[in-house]
Structures are given as structure tokens and as C-alpha cells.
């Protein structure tokens, strides 16, 4: 889509999130100045006051949808974006705030706050793809900046991004880590979680907690059986599958199966 001499325009949008994934863009300290020469930053509220009108060649969307205003804003973002990429667990699966999807609504309303009428929010936190077509998803809580750079580079080169869809478990084997599940009976989601982080949790001797969401061929039932055999109670299994990517369909289904 890019003509000669024209820099593609980049927009970064925030929905309900912690800002950590858009920060990952700035965390590419060595590449950042080259990147802003290759693309024109047209909308990126966290970084610039300047706003250029759409349409935008690439939109990066962080965060999940939790308000009716955001449902409508997202439609406008999609309409102005040629290539829409969601970044991070909130945007791709609803994020940790999707735990509200499992709460009894009345429990939330009843509690502490003086003036709940000031607050307008939806009863669920949903991923971007529930509302508009998404061209590419970058997983992670947070995303890996190298994956973001790969996706942007691939876009500029007109090729498909090379992002692994295998498991953390395979990443861990490749790194020659001792298996925390087999050797230490530590509960680990590595066998069902998508690669991308570098197996950093097993590297420090703890189990994977699923930041990157389900891998392509996640056998969650088999893993859950193993966790139970190692002593996990149903409530523990529920909590494991119901955290930063609780809304991902495979994890949501497995957590529901143990939620009695």
C-alpha cells in the first residue's frame, strides 16, 4: 500500500489497559529513531500532542473494550485503519480485567463506592476481535518488543510476519531449562501457552502463568489432569487458567470445566 517516497502512517490507540504494551514500542531504544524515520507517527497520545488525520496505514491497538463509548470509538478506529494489529493480552483476550466476566454483577455494584452512578461501564471486558475484524494479533502480557518490530518490519517489506505459534514448553526445551513441572512438580502452563516470552518463568524456576495465551494446539484438558494428579485442587486449576488471558476461548473453556 505504500507508494515510493511516502512513509506509511502509524497510529497507536489505547483502550482498557496498563500502557505496558505501547511502552514496549518505546522500549526499542536502539531501533526507535530508525523506526520513526521509516514510519510517520500520526496518532500516539502517550508520545505526542500532534494528531494527523486518518486514514492510517497501520494501527496498533492496546487494551480491551469495557465501555459503550469504546465500542463506538473502536468502530471509528477500524474505519480509519488499513492494517489493524492488536497488541497484548488485553486487546487479544480481554486481559486481567476480563475476570469481571466471571463476577456476579451485584457484588460489584453493592460495595464501597459512594457514587456508583458516576461510572458507566459494560458488564464484560472483551477483546478487540469481538467487535471489529483484526488483521494481526501480537500476544503477551506484555508483548515482546521484538515481535512488534518483526510485525512492523514485515509490513514495511510487504511480507507475512514470522511469529511462532508453538508452545513455551518447546521454547523452554530449546533453552535447555530443567523442566519445573517434571523435576519439581511445579504447576506450569508452558505445555499449553504460546511461545514468545523466551520461557522466562521456568528460567527463574517458576511455572509459566500463561501471559501469551493458548498455543496453536493447546491440550488444556491433558495438562489440567496432570496438575490435578500433582495435587492441584479444582479451584487452583480455575485460577491458573483464569488470569491474564482468562478470556481466551481455550483457557476460558478449561477454567469453566473445573469451576464447580
Amino acid at each position: 500500500m505504500t507508494g515510493p517516497g511516502r512513509r506509511p502512517s502509524l497510529a497507536v490507540w489505547k483502550f482498557a489497559s496498563c500502557d505496558g504494551c505501547q511502552l514496549s514500542l518505546l522500549d526499542m531504544e536502539d531501533e526507535l529513531l530508525a523506526l520513526v524515520e521509516a514510519v510517520k507517527i500520526s496518532y500516539f497520545l502517550e508520545v505526542t500532542r500532534a494528531v494527523a488525520p486518518g486514514p492510517y496505514d497501520v494501527s496498533l491497538v492496546e487494551g480491551s473494550v469495557t465501555t459503550q463509548d469504546d465500542v463506538e470509538r473502536l468502530q471509528r478506529v477500524r474505519a480509519q485503519s488499513r492494517f489493524l494489529v492488536t497488541i497484548g493480552a488485553c486487546a487479544t483476550s480481554g486481559g486481567i480485567q476480563s475476570l469481571r466476566n466471571y463476577a456476579v454483577v451485584g457484588d460489584y455494584v453493592a460495595a464501597v463506592y459512594a457514587n456508583p452512578a458516576y461510572i458507566r461501564t459494560l458488564s464484560s471486558s472483551t477483546p478487540i476481535s469481538c467487535h471489529v475484524p483484526v488483521d494481526f494479533e501480537i500476544r503477551g502480557c506484555p508483548i515482546n518488543p521484538h515481535q512488534l518490530l518483526e510485525v512492523l518490519t514485515a509490513y514495511l517489506a510487504g511480507r507475512a510476519p514470522r511469529i511462532p505459534t508453538h508452545t513455551v514448553c518447546q521454547e523452554c526445551k530449546a533453552a535447555a531449562n530443567v523442566c519445573v513441572l517434571v523435576a519439581g512438580a511445579t504447576a506450569c502452563l508452558g505445555p499449553v501457552t504460546r511461545a514468545g516470552c523466551g520461557a522466562i518463568c521456568p528460567l527463574v524456576g517458576r511455572g509459566c502463568f500463561g501471559c501469551f495465551g493458548p498455543a496453536a494446539t493447546a491440550n488444556t484438558a491433558s495438562l489440567a489432569a496432570r496438575l490435578s494428579a500433582d495435587g492441584a485442587k479444582p479451584a487452583d486449576v480455575v485460577r491458573m487458567f483464569r488470569s491474564f488471558t482468562a478470556g481466551a476461548p481455550e483457557f476460558a473453556k478449561e477454567s469453566a470445566a473445573h469451576d464447580t
Binding site: S17, D19, Y113, R120, C201
Partner: protein
């Protein structure tokens, strides 16, 4: 036209902040009739879903409140849970935590000074435009930020949402070699931070001072980062648990963040100006000299000069990180095992997030599940003081053009590095079902 006595500033979405907010200032016939920092970031209800989670999960879950200062959340959560158990971690664990936290201060302060704040002083829209005027400056900022991230990655396993932190300490102690390897980059960062103080102290600052009530931690013999008692410029001196009682939050229509007042009455300010005012004497000699060379007295009440204070804290964080690196002994064991429990416990802690005091309080059931969580982030504590600044800036800027006054009002908000994502983590809801 020089005397425009009527202004109505509405900045729908403020740029160069973490999170989403707007501001509104109305001036009629030369007097300021309305100021508001409107926070419209959607709430994410952390306090509502923490109950029922295991206390061991608190550090990782609360880290997700803020991608800019996850370490602040992890450190405060760990300390609050440890307080509930009456447990004290080893000095080695405490030092490694302080090192990790220094990494976050360096990363976050470099981001704010160079990317979010400095462009305003050059009339630039952003740091990219600033780089076209002064590329070496921006490269210096990127270098500092990278070193902060390197410290966090080395100690925590990842810069955003580190994975190596647990209640009681760390999953794995980094090797001596890995920690010693930080010395080289930190020495360069220390030089860059001294350059930063020189650079920012030459900026042109509006002559505005606030009559702040400062609240910050105070620690024995050192500048407060990961621990300390809560102190104020009016003589408060208490534990985090006591502070949780006297800092009262209220809910107003214009904001999805709560507003905090001391004793339910007094607006107060946390953050670099407060830390510096209450603790300047405990800075290192080099940081004190940098402060003096940068034109700071023992107390700084000019919010625009917070960029100088933040830069002095960069010097301190780099030096402090180097000190810890040089003396590093891997904690063994890397984490304290907490005692078992047979009855519910409660505890609180406060630490100094880069943008101000962060307080967590938890009640934990005998089965290890969280019963109640309260999290008071810096920005909700600062919100009333930021609005008072907006009023002062508008009153002092009546003769400015509309555009200039708008820029200065935005700057008045950015002065305090507010993190809207942090401020809006909580609140309970009226649920509106989707049509």
C-alpha cells in the same frame, strides 16, 4: 491583542501522559471560575477481583495496574503481605529489591524527563521533534532508559511486568557475574544523569510556586525508595497502616479516579517534589551537589522545576544502583518462607513509585485467599494538588494567548507525571448492559 480576559480551555485528551484524561479551565472577566482534571480512563476493578485470589498472586496481578511502574506495585504488594505475616526479609533480599526499584526509577524518570516533559520546554509536540533540534539529548535519554530496563531485566527477568519477584523475595537470585555486568552501563548512565541535570536546569521555568502539603516516605539514613515511614511537611510520621486510616478518598463525578485528602480535609502532594523536600539531606553527596548546581534549594515548590528534581533523583538512582551492584551478595535463600497461618491477617505497606507514594493494604483469610484489597496510587493522591496548580497557572497566565495558556495548562498537569492508568484501577460500578 494582549489582554484576553476570557478563556475556555478544553483539552479533550491530554497527550504525553500515561493513560487518558482531559482538562478544563474556564476564565471569565479575568478570574478563574473552573478548573478540572477529568479522568475518563475506563476503570478495571482490581480491588473487586483480587478477593478470592491467593496472596501469592498479588504481586503479579497488581503489576498489571501499570506497565510504566510494575515494580512499584510488586514491591508494595510484597511488603504489604509480609507486613500481614509479621515477616522481615533478609538484608540481601532488601538490597536486591532496591536495585530492581532503582532500575524502574531510571527507566520511568528517563521516559518522563526526555519523552513526556522536556518537549514542552522547547515548544515541541513530542520528543521526535525535539530530536530534530537536539538529537544527542534524545539519545542520552534513550541510553538512560535502556540501562534502567537492563537493570529490571537482569534482576526481574523482564522490563515490563517482571517475573522473578515473589512474596518473601525472588524466585532465583541473579548470579554475581550477571549483577556485576551492570556496573559498566550504570557508570555511563550516571554520567548521562549528571548531564541531564545540567540540561534541564537551563530550561526556562515559569515563576509559579505551590503551597503544597508534601507527603513522602522517610527512611533511616537514606533516600526513600522501597521502604520507610510515611511523613509530611506538617509533621505527620506514621506507618502505612496508620496512613491508610488518615488518607481518605472521595469519589467525584468528573473522574474515574478517587481523590485523596489527608484527615479527610487536606489536599496533599506526593512525588519527586515531596520526596526531595522531606529527604534532600539523605541524598548522596554527588546528587546533593548536582541539585545545588541545578539551582535547587533544600525545598522546591515550583512544579515546573520538578524536572530538575526528577533528574537529581536519576543521579541518585544510578549511584545507588552502582553501590548495590558493587556490594552484591546473592540472597540465600532467595526468598523468605512465610509462616503458615491459622487465622486471618491484615497488613499494609507504602513505597515510593517514581511518580509518588503508593500504598497497598490487604486482608487475607486463614485459607490464604485475599479477603479485601485497597490500593492508593500516587495520581489519585495528587489529583487535587494538580487542579490547584491548574488554577494558579491560569491565574498567572491571564495575559497569555489561548494557545500559550493551553500549552502551559497541559504542562502544569505533566509536571506531576500523573499516571492515569494507575489512578483508575479501581472503583465499583454501575453496570450498563450492552444494547
Amino acid at each position: 491583542m494582549t489582554h484576553n480576559r476570557n478563556h475556555s480551555l478544553d483539552v479533550g485528551a491530554l497527550a504525553r501522559l500515561e493513560g487518558e484524561s482531559g482538562l478544563r479551565v474556564v476564565v471569565e472577566d479575568g478570574s478563574v471560575t473552573e478548573v478540572a482534571l477529568n479522568i475518563f480512563e475506563p476503570p478495571r476493578f482490581f480491588e473487586a477481583f483480587l478477593p478470592g485470589r491467593r496472596y501469592q498472586e498479588i504481586p503479579d496481578i497488581t503489576a498489571r495496574i501499570c506497565g510504566i511502574c510494575p515494580v512499584a506495585y510488586q514491591m508494595t504488594a510484597c511488603a504489604a503481605v509480609e507486613d500481614a505475616f509479621g515477616a522481615t526479609v533478609s538484608p540481601q533480599v532488601q538490597q536486591l529489591r532496591r536495585l530492581l526499584y532503582c532500575g524502574e526509577w531510571i527507566q520511568s524518570h528517563a521516559l518522563h524527563v526526555y519523552f513526556l516533559h522536556a518537549p514542552d520546554f522547547f515548544g515541541c509536540e513530542d520528543a521526535i521533534e525535539l530530536a530534530s533540534l537536539d538529537r544527542p539529548a534524545l539519545q542520552r535519554g534513550l541510553g538512560l532508559k535502556k540501562t534502567g530496563n537492563l537493570v529490571m531485566t537482569t534482576v526481574g527477568g523482564r522490563a515490563v511486568h517482571p517475573v522473578n519477584v515473589r512474596v518473601g523475595g525472588f524466585y532465583k537470585a541473579p548470579s554475581r557475574a550477571a549483577i556485576r555486568a551492570l556496573a559498566g552501563p550504570l557508570k555511563l548512565a550516571l554520567e548521562a544523569s549528571l548531564e541531564t541535570v545540567k540540561w534541564v536546569s537551563g530550561f526556562d521555568f515559569p515563576d509559579v510556586e505551590g503551597d503544597y502539603l508534601f507527603v513522602a516516605l522517610r527512611a533511616d539514613g537514606h533516600y526513600p525508595i522501597e521502604e520507610g515511614r510515611v511523613a509530611s511537611s506538617s509533621g505527620l510520621d506514621c506507618t502505612a497502616t496508620e496512613f491508610a486510616e488518615v488518607a481518605v478518598e472521595e469519589h467525584v463525578a468528573r473522574s474515574t479516579a478517587l481523590h485523596a485528602r489527608l484527615f479527610g480535609r487536606l489536599p496533599y502532594l506526593t512525588g519527586p517534589l515531596a520526596r526531595y523536600a522531606l529527604n534532600a539531606a539523605t541524598l548522596s553527596p554527588l546528587a546533593r551537589k548536582a541539585a545545588a548546581d541545578g539551582g535547587l534549594g533544600p525545598v522546591c515548590r515550583n512544579p515546573f522545576r520538578s524536572i530538575v528534581v526528577r533528574s537529581v533523583e536519576l543521579v541518585y538512582a544510578c549511584e545507588e544502583a552502582l553501590r548495590i551492584v558493587d556490594a552484591y551478595e546473592p540472597p540465600d535463600p532467595p526468598a523468605l518462607a512465610l509462616p503458615g497461618m491459622d487465622e486471618p491477617v491484615a497488613g499494609a505497606a507504602a513505597t515510593e513509585a517514581p511518580r509518588g507514594l503508593l500504598m497497598h493494604r490487604y486482608e487475607i483469610e486463614a485459607n490464604g485467599l485475599v479477603r479485601k484489597a485497597r490500593i492508593m496510587p500516587p495520581t489519585s493522591q495528587n489529583q487535587l494538588s494538580i487542579e490547584a496548580d491548574l488554577r494558579r497557572v491560569a491565574e498567572n497566565g491571564l495575559d497569555l494567548s489561548h494557545d500559550e495558556l493551553t500549552r502551559r495548562a497541559e504542562l502544569a498537569v505533566r509536571n506531576h507525571d500523573p499516571c492515569i492508568s494507575c489512578a483508575t484501577h479501581f472503583l465499583d460500578v454501575t453496570v450498563e448492559t450492552k444494547p
